[in-house]
Amino acid sequence: MDESMYRQYIIDVYNNMLHKYEMDNADIVKNGINPACGDKLIIYLKVSNGEIKETSFVGDGCLISQVSAELLLKKIKGMGIDEVKRLSIEDMEEVLGIVPSPSRVKCMDLCRKTLVDMVSSIN
């Protein structure tokens, strides 16, 4: 399983992350952490008319946690809030293009969990 986790395109994404920066004037900011392994994210969103307009993040963590954030935050730009609320682990596997080993699922899922939490109170 690890074999597929460290594919070249994943590492290419890691080496050139376009959404990894602090955002000024974000509408919502939230911290996400995996206490067991120490992966950390801060996610920034700009939202209007029930739609995600801009996304970014900063953080420290393993490749899977960081690349998952990069790819998910790229994907949800322009997505409706309701759709974001429904994002599942299976969606994450599709976004990442891999099925991580069991011990790394939580790394992949940190961004999604944090994100769903962020938008949960928006109607």
Binding site: E3, Y6, G38, D60, G61, C62, L63
Partner: protein, 408 residues
């Protein structure tokens, strides 16, 4: 150093005959647990196939034999660490349980506003019990600071001492930095003020020679599984006078000479501290592990580990953008490192593809790892059965990983 055939010794460890996807095992996580020689594995089989019976209680030969082997193992432990006698040796589940027991036994001597010194490099097992004790007793924890090369800051330590100092909790060898601490000197300073010295020896015993009479701690804790023994057996060395003048904390079968409805007479040392059926399987196998270590000789093992560790450090410096944490002159066989932009978990996962086992994370020493300003560390830890080829395999894989991430 005697002329030792280390290659032959490696052959005593059956696990090194295993492979994963045709890749031989490179085991560099010895600080987490050690591998076991055939003699230890077979001793457990021998117990259960030839002479198993509960210890202490049977009036028959089988039980006498098991009891005899169990008691002999305590003598071996005492000899390995140069303790006065087996009366000092209490068996526990592991070093963590030993340290928790030490803490519970000392609880009655800790009063409000007393001070407990814990070093900044302690494993959680020699930190959390004291934090909880301090909370229960309204006492204070003072953390002994470290220098940038990973030693205890001696001046900083002495500045913490007051007439309220009751305990020092200190590791003999750091599981993260590899530092061998001057426990005798620091312990004496605390004892001179009437305090107790509690040493976590989990990374020391089986790696370096221990002279407990010279160190003279009140408590010294270690685990069997990190010194070629099985899991589930640990040791708490305790000063005999302390053991004699205190009551046990666990009660039940085996630890008493006589019981009436209103009185208990405890057994002699150390058995009054061992309630219930003990892990005699673990104790006996630990004794065999000690035979194995003594047969090679602790001096030879320490020298071998030093040689391998120095080679490992030298080779690691060839990896671009690497940082090694812990540069004490007095260092054991643990090497922690990071590589810029590559998370330690990714390093460990990628090494695993080559069947190379290292540890990555906070190593149950979160305050220490945070103080180093990193989210996690990769750690390669060696033991005498490792060899130059293991180190070469690690370095070659690390260079490939480095390249994958665009370094150098």
């Amino acid at each position: 150093m005697n002329n030792i055939d280390w290659n032959k010794i490696r052959g005593d460890f059956p696990i090194f005959a295993t492979t994963l996807n045709d890749k031989k095992l490179v085991y560099l996580d010895n600080a987490a647990t050690s591998q076991k020689p055939k003699a230890v594995i077979e001793s457990i089989n021998r117990l259960y196939t030839q002479y198993n019976a509960n210890i202490h209680r049977g009036i028959y030969k089988l039980s006498e034999k098991t009891t005899e082997e169990y008691l002999l193992s305590k003598e071996k432990v005492a000899k390995l660490i140069n303790a006065n006698s087996k009366r000092n040796i209490v068996y526990t589940k592991n070093a963590t349980e030993s340290l928790n027991m030490a803490c519970l036994l000392l609880e009655k001597y800790i009063n409000e506003d007393d001070e407990i010194i814990v070093t900044m490099m302690e494993h959680h097992s020699n930190m959390l019990p004291w934090m909880e004790l301090a909370k229960r007793k309204n006492a204070y924890i003072k953390y002994a600071p470290l220098t940038s090369d990973g030693n205890i800051d001696i001046e900083g330590f002495y500045a913490l001492l007051t007439d309220k100092t009751k305990v020092i909790a200190i590791s003999h060898v750091s599981n993260v930095l590899g530092t061998i601490n001057p426990i005798k000197e620091l312990g004496k300073a605390v004892k001179d003020r009437g305090g107790y010295v509690v040493v976590d020896g989990a990374q020391a015993v089986g790696h370096i020679g221990i002279d407990i009479q010279d160190i003279n701690p009140d408590f010294y804790a270690f685990s069997g599984h990190k010194m070629l023994g099985p899991t589930g057996i640990g040791v708490m060395y305790v000063d005999e006078e302390f053991l004699n003048s205190n009551d046990p904390i666990f009660f039940g079968g085996e630890m008493v000479d006589s019981v009436s409805l209103d009185s208990i007479e405890y057994k002699e040392l150390p058995f009054k501290y061992e309630a219930g059926t003990q892990n005699y399987e673990g104790g006996i196998a630990l004794g065999i592990a000690i035979d194995y270590l003594e047969n090679i000789g602790m001096e030879n093992i320490q020298q071998r580990n030093d040689d391998l560790r120095l080679l490992l450090e030298e080779e690691l410096m060839k990896i671009p953008n690497i940082h090694i944490y812990g540069n004490s002159i007095r260092k054991s066989s643990v090497v922690s490192f990071t590589i810029d932009r590559i998370h330690p978990h990714d390093i460990a996962s990628l090494l695993d593809k080559d069947n190379i086992c290292i540890r990555a994370g906070n190593h149950c020493a979160q305050p220490l790892v945070s103080s180093l300003g990193v989210p996690a560390l990769a750690r390669a830890s060696i033991h005498f059965y490792n060899n130059e080829e293991d180190i070469n395999s690690l370095i070659s894989s690390l260079l490939s990983i480095s390249k994958l991430f665009g370094h150098g």
